[in-house]
């Protein structure tokens, strides 16, 4: 009898050692930031989903972006962003600009993200791609202020094990989000990132505690971590 019990314990122990735990998390976000900042940093609240309440940030890599020269009529920084990341497509009735961060195949650093819940759980990693689309409402091929002011945004996420903390320690995973990116202050070019919604969170993270590898931390990532943790 005791042999059977020992055998059962061994089988259960082996099974639990091999078992992968999966977690599905949902989130909704509301925060602000600006591409005029160095670095473009969007910070705000997790307003819904299983990770609510908490805070988030997403930062874009602005290596090579010029600063705006206040004495010229152009905004050199935004002109560079449009030229480097966006391309125009002229399908009749669906004219607009799609911006890819990073540009496809460029090898440039991807945007990075981090979530911190009030309960003390943390998640973080990079965005394999963020897509921003501006509709050319009057189809004239010129990006006007009102058009830029109402954009949509989406992205795919990778969560690294080394940024998982609290209940996510030893977890890594994949995710995605979508929402709007609208200018809320035309003077400062502050924009609001909104991923709906408080009552029906659309952001997704699929986490697992098996097969996780350590993401490579860049120096800027470390600086941001130290500032905003």
């Amino acid at each position: 009898m005791s042999c059977i019990i020992v055998l059962c314990v061994m089988i259960l122990a082996a099974a639990s050692a091999d078992a992968t735990t999966f977690r599905t998390e949902r989130f909704a976000l509301r925060g602000t930031g600006s591409f005029m900042e160095h670095s473009p940093f969007f910070y705000g609240q997790i307003i819904g989903g299983t990770l609510f309440p908490g805070t988030f940030w997403i930062v874009f890599d602005d290596t090579g972006w010029p600063v705006d020269n206040p004495v010229t009529p152009e905004n050199e920084r935004m002109v560079y962003v449009f030229a480097h990341y966006f391309h125009y497509h002229n399908t009749v009735g669906a004219e607009g600009w799609d911006g890819y961060f990073p540009p496809t195949g460029s090898g440039e650093p991807a945007p990075r993200w981090r979530f911190c819940t009030v309960a003390g759980d943390t998640l973080g990693g990079s965005c394999t791609q963020i897509t921003i689309t501006v509709r050319d409402s009057n189809a004239n091929g010129i990006m006007e202020g009102s058009e830029y002011a109402s954009k949509v945004i989406s992205g795919n996420l990778v969560a690294y094990i080394n940024y998982g903390g609290g209940c996510f320690q030893s977890f890594c995973g994949q995710g995605s989000f979508s929402g709007t990116l609208n200018v809320v202050n035309s003077q400062t070019m502050e924009e609001e990132l909104y991923v709906p919604s408080a009552t029906s969170a659309s952001g997704r993270l699929y986490m697992r505690d098996d097969g996780c590898t350590v993401g490579v931390e860049s120096s800027s990532w470390g600086q941001i971590k130290s500032i905003y943790r």
Partner: protein, 226 residues
């Protein structure tokens, strides 16, 4: 006499409201934001042209109960009769590997396809709307061997943005706008090219394009960006 005139006016107004074609779900004149969840199936390897389609399963009443599809122009891809060649073509030409994230990302747009992918939503009562979209799919390299293994192709994430064209019908007639979506895809047997199951969420910003677009000059955006 004046009182009689007032009563007649009130009756006319009441009749006007009763006979109004606007339903309870009618779009407001300026515009509206819709949010909904969807799920469906599709097979980009065996179907030509690839079409993912399904149902809107939760969300705003204007679209809840409707169906959706997206269609991808595969005219520049190898034929669906050779799915392995088709996959290799897509993967070798359009998949970008991120060595930090250990993930591949494939973008389906007017560069990887002959034309930009298109989408459509049909609601049995409220009408139809359509437009173009960008599809971004990511797969993780779980064993970090630099090879996208079959088991790694069993689960992926997707996201993208879309534009709404003003060619809708019913409640959506004359409305245009933009939107974004995201979700996940599951494939039970990629070795045998079975269909993907997809589920996700979508947000649409609709505005009335019949009232004319807001006119702003390029000079204005410069001043905004200053």
């Amino acid at each position: 006499m004046i009182m009689k005139g007032n009563i007649v006016t009130i009756l006319f107004l009441a009749m006007g409201l009763l006979l109004s074609p606007l339903s309870a779900n009618a779009l407001p004149p300026v515009g509206v934001t819709l949010q909904f969840d969807f799920e469906g199936m599709g097979n980009a390897m065996l179907a030509s042209p690839p079409e993912y389609e399904g149902d809107i399963i939760a969300g705003d009443a204007l679209v809840l109960g409707g169906t959706w599809w997206i269609r991808i122009d595969d005219s520049t891809w190898p034929p669906s009769s050779t799915p392995q060649a088709r996959w290799d073509y897509l993967f070798n030409n359009f998949a970008t590997f991120d060595p930090l994230a250990h993930a591949w990302t494939i973008v389906l747009d007017e560069h990887s396809c002959a034309t930009k992918p298109v989408w459509r939503i049909d609601h049995p009562v409220n009408g139809m709307m359509t437009g173009t979209l960008v599809v971004v799919v990511s797969y993780s390299d779980w064993d970090v061997d630099g090879v996208l293994d079959l088991n790694e192709r069993m689960f992926g994430m997707f996201s993208g943005t879309l534009l709404v064209m003003k060619y809708g019908t019913g409640e959506f007639a004359g409305y245009c706008g933009n939107g974004a979506y995201n979700g996940s895809l599951t494939n039970d047997d990629p070795a045998n090219w079975v269909s993907d199951f997809v589920e996700g969420s979508c947000l649409l910003n609709l505005e009335n394009c019949q009232v004319g677009t807001r006119e702003t000059t390029w000079t204005a955006i410069k001043s905004i960006f200053k």
